[in-house]
Symmetry: C2
Subunit: 209 residues, 2 copies
Amino acid sequence: MEFKEVMKQRRAVNFFDPAKDVTDAQIKDIIETASLAPSGFNLQPWQVIVVKDKAKKETLRKVAWDQAKITEAPIVLIVLGDREGWKKGHNTFERDFAEMVKTGAMKKEQYDWFAGATKSIYGTTADQKMAFACKNAGFFGLSLMLAAKNVGLDSHPMDGLDVEGVKKAFNIPDQYWIPLLLAIGHFDKSKTLFPPKWRKSYNEIVVSF
Amino acid sequence: MEFKEVMKQRRAVNFFDPAKDVTDAQIKDIIETASLAPSGFNLQPWQVIVVKDKAKKETLRKVAWDQAKITEAPIVLIVLGDREGWKKGHNTFERDFAEMVKTGAMKKEQYDWFAGATKSIYGTTADQKMAFACKNAGFFGLSLMLAAKNVGLDSHPMDGLDVEGVKKAFNIPDQYWIPLLLAIGHFDKSKTLFPPKWRKSYNEIVVSF
């Protein structure tokens, strides 16, 4: 699909047809396309738990405002933002540096400089680390939604969740925050969506102080 | 352009051709396309400062790791994430509720329920508010990058900035965080980019615990 059409046609869909499945190949394609999203120093501070099993969706629904779409959609992704991607020894951090040495973008001796830079862009306080993790997970999250639309699927990003409850239910380590849940499936055509929501205009978005 | 081509061709470009301008119409188109990005309860907690003036770009560069691309790119966007979009009386909050009443998605009597729900998805602690603002600003930020690529422009998202310094230099109120700066322009074809960076595979992204 044309990029602008994907942007326009992506809607947060509240009603999923429980009879229509999403294939593993579609999910793989969506996640691989979204993996192209950018991130600070290419740290890619995101992971995904794919929830497909009926019982697990029921568990998730219980800690996510009892939203019906969680059990109605064939797939729900738990998107994780990694607050510790700057640490020496972290898989992605180490791989990232090794790949840059391989391409010639950095020299081996720059390891400590690189560690200092990643620490710096993550920031030092809890809220700064959260900002970095969630901004990047946001790049990845929107890519998932657009990639789903591009293969003819609908999605719904959800904020309504008890983060601690979801972490406990799915044994998610504390280094992760959960910026969103994303239901993916086929819109239930027996239902009607409200008209597309209003958006701020150019003049309402652009500011100066 | 095809959506997947936009995803593949978007690169963080370090070198901009200072001789090639970006028109106001292009910036308007990019921001209007990005305005279609989703957000929790459609609160659209993002604003943009468009930095085009030479002296202002020099000011910005001084508080953003002295990155040459800030003065070389014709345009730099300061993307803001709003940490107070849940508050009664906030412009977007009030407009959002009024629009939902207009379309029939909510009833007037649900004002307090709506205020409680937006407060809840923003969370109560400083880091939770940051997570919500930056996740949504991330949706918007990636949309800006893709929309730029779609009209033949290149971009570079920057994390390297002194947030407090930028806030001071541009009189940015404390309710905002700055998840990214985004340089937009034309790649300087006399320069060479490194090959596209590695990405985590599907199996490295999908986890269970």
